[in-house]
């Protein structure tokens, strides 16, 4: 029946009054009401009859000792809700996970029970603990795990904005948990931001083992098709997405993506993330512990293995490319060199160029404009160094346009001009620049040994100049690539000498951070060489046989 608002409020008032009365007096109260409004009184009567049933119906839902409080989230197979139970020392909270009635059958139920079984077997401070399990009145299984009151990894990093060191510390703890899992022959298989929580105390907790699987004795997991249907493609490894396999290396991959999402500007953490998330499982960290060791290196300001490894990886790739096509390797080298050259010249000539440089114009275009005006201004009796300067610029023009022979010609002319000048520090500076440029052009002609000799001569001369004030800032990458190319060709001493000058260069500039990197590079190469020589000897022997 439908009630008017006035009736409704009358009913409410009667009900409130009747509720205060003992049961035996309620019937009498209803009779009194009936004299005022018979229809409304029978409504009241029905309500009073329904009251105890309603109370029972709307009781907080309960499973075993656990009272449901509210929904926390929805998992793949059912709801996760907050629940509490009474213990001798007070109330205990838990996250209760229920299989959805729709899924409570066959393989889904088996899957659910497996998750419960896996969780039960684990005990680690960074893994949400198993608390209880049971069947509800309808016979559907549920289990309860530790309730983690905290933020998901992505929310935490976005809102709390932790420092990279803090991120690294949390990540190391997470890796310890994953290492523990893998030792227990379990692959989580669904590591993603929403499954990694940071609790109120700032501890990291790994949850949701809904996709987890146990490994066979041979380290392989079965029923990968099931995982494939359940996984989160965004965070899953290529082999999981393809459904080919799911191993500890798959977790390493997801961890790499997770780290990359929050490593900020840190090149070290990025290198670790990159190594962990390589497409090829064998190229990733061999274990969570190995990855944790690298994160620890980062925290202790020690060299990070992944970066050296990345360099070795690059060097290997470089060498491979080199064997296939030496010319192609030289091209890469030249491209790096050209960038340096243009940058260095641009910095040096900044004020000169400013008048002619149009915003966003391509560097070689800007240089061409300068050249044009310089040629017009050129007087026959201009100092030879200035003539050399013009030839040098011409050479650069040719070099960046991949005309190394023309560039070499211009450099030759520049050299002749400089040689005619009287000795002075300014002349020597010009010669240093010429030698470096010649080295660059020779590199472009794939004459690496001659290129190295020019560069070495340039630096030796540079050291004799009192103020040594020559723009050398941008040459580091070129020098490193040249050294690597030399080492790849077995020209170890020249390669090492170039790296040595690279260290001297950054020392002079006063860039201590880059100096340290360069020193480390030098040491790493020195350490690799005996190994490289041995491989080379082996190879020679093999070829001889």
């Amino acid at each position: 029946m439908s009630l008017s608002p006035a009736d409704f409020h009358q009913l409410e008032a009667w009900f409130a009054e009747a509720s205060t009365l003992p049961a035996e007096k309620r019937a009498r109260f209803v009779e009194i009401c009936r004299e005022t409004d018979a229809r409304l009184a029978s409504e009241l009567e029905q309500m009073l009859e329904a009251q105890p049933l309603a109370e029972a119906a709307f009781l907080p839902r309960q499973h075993g000792d656990w009272r449901i409080k509210r929904v926390l989230g929805e998992g793949g197979l059912g709801l996760v809700r907050l629940a509490e139970r009474d213990t001798p020392t007070g109330k205990q909270l838990g996250a209760i996970k229920h299989i959805h009635a729709n899924f409570d059958a066959g393989s889904f139920r088996a899957r659910f029970l497996k998750e419960c079984e896996i969780l039960k077997a684990l005990a680690h401070p960074q893994i949400a603990a198993f608390l209880d399990a049971g069947l509800d009145s309808a016979g559907s299984p549920y289990f309860v795990m530790e309730y983690v009151n905290g933020l998901a990894w992505d929310d935490y990093t976005a809102h709390v904005k932790p420092t990279v060191e803090r991120v690294a510390m949390l990540f190391r703890d997470l890796l310890a948990a994953v290492a523990y899992l893998h030792e227990s022959s379990i692959v989580h298989a669904d590591i993603k931001p929403s499954n990694v929580l940071i609790d109120r105390a700032g501890a990291v907790k790994l949850l949701d083992f809904g996709a987890a699987r146990m490994l066979d004795a041979d380290g392989k997991s079965r029923d990968s098709t099931f995982t494939r249907a359940m996984l989160t493609p965004e965070w899953a490894s290529p082999e999981q997405r393809q459904g080919t396999s799911c191993t500890p290396a798959s977790d390493i991959y997801s961890l790499g993506l997770l780290l990359r999402s929050c490593c900020g500007e840190s090149a070290d953490l990025r290198a670790i993330a990159d190594k962990a998330s390589r497409d090829e499982p064998s190229e990733r960290y061999e274990s969570a512990l190995a990855m944790a060791a690298d994160v620890t290196h980062f925290l202790r300001n020690e060299p990070v293995g992944a970066r050296t490894a990345n360099m070795q990886y690059r060097a290997r790739k470089f060498a491979r490319r080199h064997r296939i096509a030496a010319a192609f390797a030289a091209c890469a080298l030249v491209a790096a060199g050209a960038a340096w050259w243009i940058e260095a010249e641009r910095a040096r000539q900044a004020s000169e160029l400013r008048s002619t440089l149009i915003e966003n114009v391509r560097p070689e275009k800007a240089i061409a404009q300068v050249l044009k005006s310089a040629a017009a201004d050129m007087e026959a009796d201009a100092p030879k160094t200035e003539q050399a300067q013009l030839h040098l610029r011409m050479a650069q023009m040719h070099a960046v346009r991949s005309r190394p022979d023309n560039a070499a010609q211009e450099l030759k002319a520049a050299e002749t001009a400089v040689a005619a000048d009287a000795p002075s520090p300014e002349r020597d500076k010009m010669r240093v620049r010429l030698l470096l440029s010649q080295g660059f052009v020779l590199g472009k002609q794939d004459k690496l040994v001659e290129a190295a000799d020019m560069v070495i001569e340039a630096f030796k001369l540079w050291e004799t100049i009192p103020d040594r004030n020559i723009e050398l800032r941008q040459s580091g990458y070129y020098l490193r690539e040249l050294a690597d190319a030399l080492i790849a060709r077995g020209e170890f001493s020249r390669g090492i000498e170039i790296l040595h000058w690279n260290v001297r260069r950054t020392e002079w500039i006063g860039d201590s951070a880059t100096t340290n990197v360069n020193k480390r590079d030098l040491a790493a190469r020195c350490a690799q060489i005996p190994e490289a020589i041995r491989s080379e000897e082996k190879l020679t022997k093999l070829c001889a046989n």
Binding site: S2, Q46, M47, L53, A54, A57, F58, R70, G78
Partner: protein, 125 residues
């Protein structure tokens, strides 16, 4: 600060209750139409699929409750809100009083009346 945190928390819970209600009802509607399509078998839907409800009301029809709740809302919006917060959101009486800016005693009275009235509407329509 404490008070502000608490307010934003209850506000969040209030929103979550509304969302939960919608989710449950939508889910029930989808299931109902699916079952109807499958041969019109009479079904009942429990609030939460796995709720261990007491005998006598082992399964309440979510759709019927939703209808009754709409009816309640037309008559007394605050009472419907109390039900939503309490039943779908799992809020405590004090929390509901905070959200609705009323006294815990009023919330208790509203809850007592509303759940009985709803039950009656469902059992003797």
């Amino acid at each position: 600060m404490q008070g502000k945190d608490w307010r934003s928390k209850t506000h969040y819970l209030a929103t979550a209750s509304r969302v939960m209600r919608n989710v449950v009802v939508d889910y029930a509607r989808t299931r109902l139409s699916a079952k109807r399509g499958a041969g019109g078998k009479q079904i009942t839907l429990s609030f939460a699929e796995n709720a261990a409800a007491p005998p006598g009301l082992s399964a309440i029809d979510v759709i019927a409750l939703e209808r009754a709740l709409d009816e309640l809302e037309a008559l007394d919006a605050r009472k419907a809100r109390v039900v939503e917060l309490r039943w779908y959101g799992g809020l405590e009486v004090e929390e509901i009083a905070g959200v609705l800016d009323t006294s815990p005693a009023t919330v208790k009275r509203d809850w007592e009346f509303s759940r009985t009235w709803l039950y009656k509407q469902l059992s003797c329509p």
